[in-house]
């Protein structure tokens, strides 16, 4: 008896039942008990709220509320540009030494309005600090593990085996300290992440960050202008509007799938707080994919096309004039584009996996005229 109440009623049964009702009329009142006939369904759509009450460009398909940045201790908007260049000093041979101090700690962060995630962090934030150095610099990272688990920092780049940040070579226990030291090579858009085991968990818990090595113009005389435009602090570089975007996701219920997708951790943050872009100036995005549990992530730009530098390790684009780029986990690259020929307004960007978009990985550029 209960079976036809149970939620296992499938479409075939529904149609069968409707047909029977329509043809049988054994019970005169059946049609009046609220079952609409096919004809009624045709004239009246089952849902008509679609046209009304849409707020913003994403209508009702968005998280409710806003994340408390003060509670988190970081603001995704400032994460876009807060480069950490370390403490700079000179080595006896005249080379630059950049020293970074990173602390691993457990911290509950708000990844979508009202959803708290027990993260493992570098310096209390997810993603960790965006480290930015110049090609050929000596890099020294003092890593203090104040977390509850064993952690490490594995840098993508060129380094020796004992600096690899894997178990036995730079993985340390709670309360311990380790110093990673290597030369910044090759230039490009890289990342770092914890390589302690189990790997999946340490990554999706939040232990990752951007590691940008700017090209040294002196080493690339034939493309010195391009290299200078990437080198933080040069006049050429200041013309660019540079942002770092770490594509990530969070599995909140331990089912091996992400409930929240984002760039820079907070779902829909850039949809609710669009990224301001000056129309006349070029845009450069350091895009890094660390999303766990899904093999591929992507970025799609609305109303525009960009040049793409895979891994950022070249000074000429590896892909030209594309509007969507696909990245495997740990793949990254540099996007360059401009809104010079566009009208001002909101331009969306998002993963072109519709599922990721709808679960938080969606944002907007607010293209504005430069203030006079």
């Amino acid at each position: 008896m209960r079976n036809w109440l149970r939620e296992t009623v499938n479409r075939r049964h529904l149609l069968w039942g409707s047909l029977a009702t329509a043809s049988g009329f054994l019970i005169g009142g059946a049609a009046a008990t609220g079952q609409s006939s096919h004809a009624e369904r045709g004239s009246a759509p089952p849902y008509d709220a679609n046209g009304a009450g849409h707020h913003g460009a994403h209508g009702h398909m968005i998280t409710v509320g806003d994340v408390g940045n003060a509670r988190n201790g970081f603001d995704p908007t400032s994460l876009l540009t807060d480069w950490n260049t370390g403490v700079v000093s000179s080595l006896p041979d005249g080379r630059t030494l950049r020293t970074f101090e990173i602390i691993g700690e457990d911290k509950e962060i708000e990844i979508a309005p009202g959803i708290l995630f027990p993260a493992w962090t570098y310096n209390g934030r997810v993603p960790g600090p965006s480290l930015r150095v110049t090609e050929g610099d000596r890099v020294r990272i003092i890593f203090q593990n104040n977390g509850s688990h064993r952690h490490s920092i594995h840098f993508h780049g060129i380094h020796s085996a004992r600096m690899d940040g894997i178990p036995g070579a730079g993985e340390i226990g709670p309360g311990e300290e380790f110093i990673y030291e290597f030369d910044a090579l090759p230039f490009g858009c890289h990342l770092y992440h914890c390589h302690a085991l189990p790997l999946k968990r340490h990554i999706h818990k939040g232990m990752y960050g951007a590691f940008i090595i700017d090209p040294d113009p002196a080493r690339h005389p034939e493309q010195a202008d391009v290299a200078r435009s990437r080198l933080l602090g040069t006049p050429e570089n200041r013309e660019w509007q540079e942002f770092v975007m770490v594509m990530n996701g969070f599995d909140t219920n331990f089912d091996g799938e992400n409930e929240v997708y984002a760039v820079n951790t907070v779902a829909h943050h850039y949809a609710k707080h669009p990224i301001t872009v000056i129309r006349g100036r070029p845009v450069r995005i350091y895009l890094i994919n660390v999303v766990e549990f899904d093999p591929i992530n992507s970025l799609h730009l609305h109303g525009n096309f960009f040049d793409y530098y895979d891994h950022g390790t070249t000074l000429t684009p590896t892909l030209r004039t594309i509007d969507t780029v696909m990245q495997c986990q740990a793949q990254r690259g540099i996007l360059e584009f401009t809104y010079r020929a566009h009208e001002t307004g909101l331009y969306m960007f998002h993963a072109h996996q519709a599922e990721f978009t709808e679960l938080g990985w969606m944002g907007m550029f607010d293209v504005v005229e430069a203030a006079a």
Binding site: L5, R11, S23, G29, Q35, A112, I115
Partner: protein, 404 residues
């Protein structure tokens, strides 16, 4: 201890009953209650459970009790369970975050309910999955297997629902009762057969009711302890009807028929609840064949009610009342089920029905025992055996029609 003590050390000398003063009586009630208050205060103030807190987040539970799909979207009534209040943070529909309004807003205390209104443009005839994400990131899923507009609970529906309820409840019982003149013609053997048939079909209904009650209880909020509630409700209704039915000794004739009708009526109340709830759940086009199946299924119930009346013919009006008693609750069930359906209440109704049916089975069994002398020789009469098998088989066969 001296286990060799003689009996004289055990037997206390009879003492005259002492008359206690009133204040002592009050004191002996107040003292334990006072101690209870003391213990509760100590528990609240000193919080000894703190030592057991290992930092794990509280267990959260959320039950979806009601769903309405209309032209403003999806509306779900949820009930909180678990040890701590639940904070609903976000809502996904089909793996997408959607705006929603919670009414009333705020944390959901244990066993509290709230409506979640989601302005989601659902698609007719397709499946949707709603996922509630709480503050701790725990998710609770609710599947909408076939999206159809929920019939609005409207007074204009009451009459057509009553018609349908009468069709699956009163009509078949009445048809069954109409076999009465035929039944009158049967002899002692036939009578045994008929009563055993009644027991057989009641046994089927008992198992069916209990199974459905337990299944519904499984869907209710955990805090209701649905399965325990079902068993307790069945036992209590059994005992209650037992006491009421036996006020004037073992029921026979009209008394027994009335008891059977009450038991069947409670079962039909559950059936009505299920039909009404199915309408609300949107499984609207139930189909004529289902209704017809129910009708055939319930005709046998009428035969069961008529069986004890064979030897003691009642007035004609009694048949009308018996048909209403057994069939009309289906109408009430439909109304109730379509207006205010929650799994725990449906489970409760079915459990009460199961208890009532069990009581009737016992009464008919006792009646059958006294009717036939052959029991005394230790043999099982063939007519009884045949009746039981026929009753069970008949119910099973007609139930096939209504199982989807």
């Amino acid at each position: 201890m001296n286990d060799r003590a003689g009996p004289e050390t055990v037997v206390a000398s009879p003492r005259p009953p002492t008359v206690r003063p009133g204040y002592a009586f009050v004191l002996w009630i107040a003292l334990p209650l006072f101690l209870l208050g003391l213990v509760a205060t100590w528990l609240a103030v000193s919080d000894p459970l703190r030592a057991f807190n290992n930092g794990a987040p509280p267990v959260e539970r959320l039950t979806f009790e009601r769903r309405i799909l209309d032209n403003t979207g999806i509306h779900l009534r949820v009930r909180a369970g678990g040890s701590e209040p639940i904070t609903i943070a976000q809502v996904q529909v089909d793996d997408a975050y959607w705006t929603f309004v919670q009414d009333p807003p705020g944390d959901l205390a244990r066993l509290a309910t709230a409506w979640i209104h989601i302005p989601f443009p659902w698609t007719l005839g397709e499946a949707h999955e709603v996922r509630v994400v709480t503050k701790t990131g725990t998710t609770f899923d609710h599947e909408i297997p076939v999206a159809v507009r929920t019939p609005e609970a409207h007074s204009s529906q009451l009459v057509p629902q009553a018609v349908l309820g009468a069709f699956v409840g009163i009509v078949p019982v009445a048809i069954g009762l109409m076999f009465y003149p035929v039944l009158r013609g049967v002899g002692a053997q036939g009578m045994s057969f008929l009563l055993a048939l009644t027991i057989g079909l009641l046994a089927f209904l008992f198992v069916d009711s209990l199974e459905d009650a337990l299944e519904l209880a499984g869907e209710a909020a955990v805090a209701f302890q649905g399965h325990v509630m079902v068993v307790l409700a069945a036992i209590i209704s059994f005992l209650l009807l037992w006491v009421i039915g036996r006020r004037r000794g073992t029921p026979t004739g009209l008394g027994l028929a009335t008891a059977i009708a009450i038991g069947i009526g409670l079962h039909n109340l559950g059936e009505g609840l299920a039909i009404g709830a199915a309408f609300t759940a949107g499984a609207a086009g139930l189909g004529t064949f289902l209704v017809l199946g129910f009708t055939l299924h319930n005709i046998t119930e009428g035969v069961g009610i008529a069986a004890p009346l064979v030897k003691e013919p009642p007035p004609l009006s009694a048949f009308v009342w018996l048909a209403l008693l057994a069939g009309a609750p289906a109408i009430l069930g439909m109304w109730f089920g379509s207006l205010a359906y929650s799994p725990q209440w449906a489970a409760l109704a079915l459990a009460v029905g199961a208890g009532a049916i069990l009581q009737v089975i016992v009464e008919v069994g006792v009646y059958l025992w006294r009717l036939d002398d052959r029991w005394k020789s230790g043999a099982v009469p063939v007519s009884v055996f045949g009746g039981l098998v026929a009753g069970l088989s008949l119910m099973y066969a007609t139930a096939v029609l209504v199982k989807v």
